[in-house]
Amino acid sequence: MGRTFLRAVMILLTGVAVGLFVNLWSPRAIPLITPPRPVVLDRQIVPLDEARQLLGIAVFLDARRAPDYEAGHIAGAFNLPVEDFEAHFAAVAGLLSPTTPIIVYCDGVDCDLSHRLLARLNALGYRQARLLVNGWTVWRAAGLPTTKGAAP
């Protein structure tokens, strides 16, 4: 029993050690301590009513993963999964300028993909980007236009 317990502890410690070691060298490494959640100011939140009026004017960016986006998104929205920002940014960069109104959203009250996307866009100088909280759910619930499938 004592030996089994010792071995189990060794398995745990080895797993931790390998994980930490790989994270030192991996190109997909992440910081050891979780960075704080990006702060979004009140003025960066767009109410649903205003977002609705900006349909066709603002660029809508869906921060969720491609399968979620393809299963249904705000009509005309483009997909910019924040988890894979670099790979997808080039596809939408041509649509954006520092003065373009941009609306980012994801799904769920606790979803912070759009918070992170907003922070990335702000850092790149896109100052007119705003966030529609719980976007996909509230948009659908209001019966506003949606589409399915890959990016337009």
Partner: protein, 135 residues
């Protein structure tokens, strides 16, 4: 009969743990986001768990598959399954609508009773191996 049961339990647990560990180890950032949705791990520790947990799963699965330290890895698997079971149950109790994240991007369905059943089944196998697997 018991001998083939042990092999089968080792295979099923081992393959699933290796698979679940590998996909998450390959993309710790994605796993960290999934983990954050559960709201169970204190925020500063989320990355640490996302970096290390997949490798514990992977190692544990490899040991079960190869047959080294079967009882010890079965104890680790038991611990993992208890934690996973508690996590998915808490999601259901709290009424959260989140992705499981159990297998990275593979399977994007929301957490539901199916996950409870899977974890409970795997937990039973792991517990059984802690008693009947070879040292």
């Amino acid at each position: 009969m018991k001998w083939s049961g042990i092999i089968l339990a080792r295979l099923i647990l081992g393959v699933l743990l290796v698979f679940a560990g590998a996909v998450k180890a390959f993309n710790p950032q994605l796993f960290a986001y999934e983990l954050e949705q559960y709201n169970l791990v204190p925020v500063p520790l989320i990355h640490f768990v996302a970096i290390t947990l997949p490798w514990i799963e992977l190692l544990c699965g490899l040991l079960l598959l190869t047959g080294f330290w079967v009882r010890a890895s079965a104890w680790v698997a038991t611990g993992l399954m208890v934690a996973f079971l508690a996590a998915v149950l808490s999601v259901i109790v709290r009424g959260l609508k989140i992705k499981c994240g159990c297998f990275g991007t593979v399977g994007t369905e929301f957490v539901g009773w199916w996950h409870v059943a899977l974890d409970a089944g795997l937990l039973a196998m792991a517990v059984w191996l802690t008693r009947h697997g070879k040292e």
